[in-house]
Each structure stands twice: as structure tokens, then as C-alpha cells.
């Protein structure tokens, strides 16, 4: 996610591009930007999706972790092969890597949805 959607960043960019704008317009824009920043809702779409991605990651981590442990427990209780039970879930061997990759994908999805919404 690039930061240009944040009001303060717009303000900064306006300052940088000030010479090409008439002073009156620049003043109005800055005023408007400050006003927008004051009135900006706390739950922006971006923040919502970021939180949703974190929550989904956490839930997924718990679900995958407990499934793995359950498979191992079941193998212990039934005398099955633990390695086979773990493989049956068809996820990468390194669960942490898998979860991180999944989190990145969810972030990407959140970004796409945000752009679609704001565009």
C-alpha cells in the first residue's frame, strides 16, 4: 500500500507542488486537507481491511496449527504414521512460511479491494 491516500501526505505533496498552484487555491486546498484530516473517520476502508487481514491470519494460524496438532494426536491415539497424517493436509512443511505467504496475499487482496472502493 502506497501512502498517497493519507491526508497528511497529500498536504505534503501540495506543499512540494506549491509553485505551480495559485496561492489562493493552495491555501484553500491546505485548509480543506486539514479539515478533512480532522474529520477523517477512524475506520477507513484501508484500516478495516488491514485489520481484517490480520484477524484472518490469526484465525488461519490457529486453525492450521490446531489441525496439525489434532492430526498428530490422532496418529498417537490410533497408532498411525504421524508424518503421513501431517502431509494429508497438503500444506508446505514450514507452516510459519505458509502463514506469512498467506498473510501477504490477504494484504494484497485488501489493497485491491481498497483501490476498487476508493477509485
Amino acid at each position: 500500500m502506497t501512502p498517497q491516500h493519507e491526508p497528511e501526505t497529500i498536504e505534503t505533496q501540495l506543499r512540494a507542488s506549491a509553485p505551480v498552484l495559485p496561492p489562493e487555491l493552495r491555501s484553500q486546498i491546505l485548509h480543506r486537507c486539514r479539515s478533512e484530516r480532522r474529520n477523517a473517520p477512524v475506520w477507513t476502508w484501508y484500516r478495516r481491511w488491514r485489520l481484517a487481514a490480520a484477524f484472518a491470519t490469526l484465525v488461519l494460524f490457529c486453525a492450521v496449527g490446531s489441525s496439525q496438532l489434532d492430526a498428530q494426536n490422532r496418529a498417537m491415539l490410533t497408532g498411525g504414521n504421524r508424518a503421513t497424517s501431517a502431509r494429508s493436509f497438503a500444506i508446505p512443511a514450514d507452516t510459519a512460511q505458509f502463514v506469512l505467504a498467506l498473510r501477504w496475499r490477504i494484504s494484497q487482496l485488501a489493497l485491491l479491494l481498497h483501490d476498487k472502493h476508493s477509485g
Binding site: 498517497q4 497529500i10 505551480v20 484553500q28 484465525v59 490457529c62 490446531s66 496438532l69 494426536n73 490410533t78
Partner: protein, 468 residues
């Protein structure tokens, strides 16, 4: 700044007058209420989902640790690992016992009378018509090993049947009656042989990895002790005979048997946690109402209950470990089941169903161990009486004549209480209340309280001596 970028600025317009927006249409109260309710529901749902998955992971982790701890100790987790191995037919006593049970001619009334009198009122006719069964039982007891054809490989372990236990017990009762009749007829060696047969029958049941077999084996050994006591009232053993028979007394290590059976019970409990997965199914399993319900409602309940179920399993393993450790010391008093169950968390429903009543079992084990010890003292007293013509005045005299130290009372680590008045004698242990009640054993206070008072209650019975 590119025009595109400028156009995406929020509410930007070059004309200040155009920045005023048309005010949105005000929301009605009802819409605001439902929006708010929806948000609260959403939040609750998210919190619920998060809590569920976090709890599930924690429970899985704790269960994994508990199971790994058992596995690291080299103890079995599957019932198939505790099943006794198959043995060759020529060495197996079980088929012969089953033939003997088939040859038994005993009506229900005769069986009830025999059990009530512990063999003292068996008529000569009854023994005569069961001669074949008694002979087969003797042959079976002489064989070195025993494995009854139990279907341990059943998918539903709760459905495994042990019909042979009742049969073996009935055979032991008829052999006891035969031994007492032989003692009354002065056939000392035959009577002692039959007492040894009863002890051997008890020993033959000990390899079975379930507590019900252990309890039946204990009951049969207690019957052997009772039979020996009655035989010794009627026969006079020389010191050589008494010493020879002391080697044929039961030497079963009941603590080891109980330890092995508790491993089997734990495997059975763990199987139950796999076979059913919610409290409704567990109650169906406990009530024996056929296969547990597996409809969609039950499946949803199983999923939602999953973290509690796993924690229940963890508590079951901890409870079995804790109680098993306490059972390792014969004579140690166990916390009553009532107190133990009360301290379990509310969700440990399956643990409450599956946990065996270990204080009651421990008490029975202690009693049979104490009687094992008393049997030796009784032999020494009988041999002393044969040699001198009268009972010893105290146990030290009998001990001196016996030539080696006599076992002590399990509960006090002191010699058993012994009283003699020349013609009669009383030998007893003071029992688990560690109080001399004059040789009076516990009385049954209610039909559900069992043979010697209710061992699951915390209060010890007022009188619980164990008379020989």
C-alpha cells in the same frame, strides 16, 4: 501533480463555493438501530470466532503435551498395545475352563445358595453331579497360561463382552465347596490342592487388561482365602505340610496387576474420547443406548464443543496419572471420588463418566494383599497347633516355631491382631480405619454401598476389621 491525482483528492474543487455538499438524507431511527445492531453482532461474531480458534489451538497443544508425556514414559495409548498375546492351545487354560463351565450342572437357586454360603452348604449330590466340571477345572488350573477368546479388536470397545468371568467365578465356587467337603472328610491333601486351584484360577485372570477382570480375580482370590480359612478349621497341618503349602499360596503382585489394568482402562478412556465427541454422545455411550447419534446437530455440537472436549481429555489423563500414582502405595488412603469429581472443571463431562472408582478398587486391592499376608500367619498358627496341641498364646510363639518372620498388617506395619483362648482363636487386621474394632468387619449400610460399606464416601466405616 497530475490531473488524475488532483481529481482523486477528497471533495476537491477549484471553486470554493462548490465545496458545500448536499447534506445526505437523514437516516430513520429504525435503520440506525439495525445498523448498530448489525455492527454489534458482527463484532460479537468476530470475537467468538477468534476466541474459538485460539481456545482450540491451546487445547490441542495441551492435549498434545499430555499424550506425548505418556508416550515418552513408554506407556501405551492404544488398546491394541495392552491386549494379551495369543498363546498355543496346548498351554492355554481358557478352553478347558470353558469346557468345565459347560459341564457345570447348577440351577440358579443352587448357584445363589452356593454363593450365599460360600460353599459350606453344598450337598454331596451337588458335588457329585459336578464332578466332571471340577475335574476339568483342576486340569485347567494346572496349565501355565490363560487367554480367553475375548474380541479385543471390536470397533466399539464398550461392546466387548467378558462372559467367561461369571463362568470362572462359578467354577471357583464349586471348587471351594468341594475343598470344604474334602476338609470335613479329613482329606487334607485333596482339600489343599483344591484351595491352590482357586488361587491359580485367580492368577489366570490377571493378564486381562481391564479392571473388571482384576476385580473378578480379586474376588476369586478372596474366595480362596475364605476356603483356606475353613479348611484350616478342619485339618491339622504338619509344619512340613504347612511350609509346602505356603509356596502354593497366591503370590500375585496386585499392585502390578492394577497398574497394568489401569493402563488398559486409560486406553479405553482415550478410545472413548475418539469414538464420541460431545457430551450427548458420551452419555449415550455410558448408558449403552447403541451407537452414538451422528446427525447434523450432533456434528455441529461436536465442532463447537471441540476445545472443551480436548481439555476434558487432558483432565482425564491428568486424573488417571494422579490416581495411578496414589494407587502404587498399598494401604494409602485415596481421596474420595466425590471430592475428586467436585474439583474437576464443569466441562469435564466425559472424564466424570470414564474415570474408574479408584478408591473402591484400591481398597479391594489392599484387602486382598492383607489376606495374602494373613494366610501365611494362619498356616503358621495351624502348624503350631498340630505340633503342640494348642493355639499359641501370641503370634511371636507361632513365628518362632515357623522359623521365619511372619508378614505384618498392611495398614499398621505391626503384627496382625491375634487372640486365643485355648480352643478358639481370632486373627484379624484392623483395616483401613486403623482402629481395632474387635474383629468386626464392616456392615453393609445400604444396598448400593457394596460389600464392605461404601468405599466411595469419604467417611471411613465405623467398623472395618478384616477377620481371617
Amino acid at each position: 501533480m497530475s490531473p488524475n491525482r488532483v481529481s482523486r483528492l477528497p471533495h476537491f474543487s477549484a471553486d470554493p463555493s462548490s465545496t458545500a455538499q448536499a447534506s445526505p438524507r437523514p437516516l430513520t431511527k429504525r435503520v440506525r438501530f439495525w445498523r448498530r445492531a448489525g455492527r454489534i453482532l458482527q463484532a460479537c461474531l468476530l470475537v467468538g470466532i477468534g476466541t474459538y480458534y485460539a481456545a482450540n489451538l491451546t487445547a490441542s497443544w495441551q492435549l498434545h503435551n499430555a499424550l506425548s508425556a505418556v508416550e515418552e514414559r513408554g506407556e501405551p495409548l492404544q488398546f491394541s498395545k495392552v491386549v494379551p498375546a495369543f498363546i498355543p492351545e496346548s498351554r492355554n487354560a481358557a478352553p478347558v475352563y470353558l469346557h468345565a463351565a459347560d459341564a457345570l450342572v447348577l440351577s440358579d437357586a443352587e448357584d445363589a445358595a452356593l454363593r450365599a454360603s460360600r460353599g459350606t452348604q453344598a450337598s454331596a449330590d451337588l458335588l457329585a453331579k459336578n464332578r466332571a466340571a471340577i475335574e476339568l477345572t483342576r486340569q485347567a488350573a494346572a496349565l501355565p497360561e490363560c487367554r480367553f477368546p475375548v474380541h479385543y479388536d471390536e470397533e466399539n470397545l464398550a461392546g466387548i463382552l467378558f462372559p467367561h468371568l461369571g463362568k470362572v467365578r462359578r467354577l471357583a465356587e464349586i471348587v471351594s465347596a468341594q475343598a470344604q467337603a474334602e476338609a470335613r472328610a479329613g482329606q487334607t491333601d485333596a482339600a489343599l490342592d483344591d484351595v491352590a486351584v482357586i488361587f491359580r484360577m485367580s492368577e489366570h485372570l490377571t493378564p486381562e487388561p481391564v479392571l473388571i477382570s482384576c476385580l473378578t480375580a480379586i474376588a476369586i482370590e478372596r474366595l480362596g482365602d475364605t476356603t483356606l480359612a475353613r479348611v484350616l478349621q478342619n485339618v491339622a497341618l504338619s509344619p512340613a505340610q504347612a511350609h509346602a503349602f505356603s509356596l502354593r499360596l497366591s503370590h500375585t503382585d496386585w499392585t502390578a496387576v492394577l497398574r497394568q489394568d489401569l493402563k488398559g482402562e486409560r486406553c479405553f478412556g482415550l478410545w472413548a474420547f475418539q469414538y464420541v465427541s460431545n457430551p450427548i454422545q458420551a452419555s449415550q455411550l455410558a448408558n449403552g443406548t447403541g451407537a452414538p447419534t451422528n446427525n447434523p446437530v450432533s456434528k455441529v455440537l461436536s465442532v463447537l464443543w471441540s476445545p472443551f472436549w480436548k481439555m476434558d481429555e487432558v483432565h482425564y489423563l491428568q486424573a488417571m496419572d494422579q490416581r495411578n500414582e496414589l494407587l502404587q502405595v498399598p494401604g494409602a488412603s485415596l481421596e474420595s471420588d466425590d471430592i475428586f469429581m467436585r474439583d474437576l472443571p464443569w466441562y469435564a463431562i466425559c472424564t466424570r463418566i470414564m474415570l474408574p472408582t479408584l478408591p473402591a478398587i484400591g481398597k479391594k486391592r489392599d484387602q486382598v494383599v492383607d489376606y495374602q499376608r494373613m494366610a501365611l500367619a494362619a498356616l503358621a498358627i495351624n502348624a503350631y497347633r498340630t505340633t503342640t496341641g494348642h493355639y499359641p498364646t501370641d503370634l511371636h510363639e507361632a513365628e518362632a516355631a515357623w522359623g521365619s518372620a511372619l508378614p505384618r498388617d498392611l495398614y499398621t506395619n505391626q503384627p496382625f491382631v491375634y487372640k486365643a483362648d485355648g480352643e478358639t482363636m481370632a486373627l484379624y487386621s484392623i483395616g483401613s480405619n486403623r482402629k481395632d474394632d474387635g474383629g468386626k468387619k464392616a456392615t453393609t449400610s445400604s444396598p448400593s454401598d457394596g460389600e464392605h460399606g461404601n468405599p466411595t464416601k469419604n467417611t471411613p466405616p465405623a467398623e472395618d476389621d478384616l477377620p481371617w
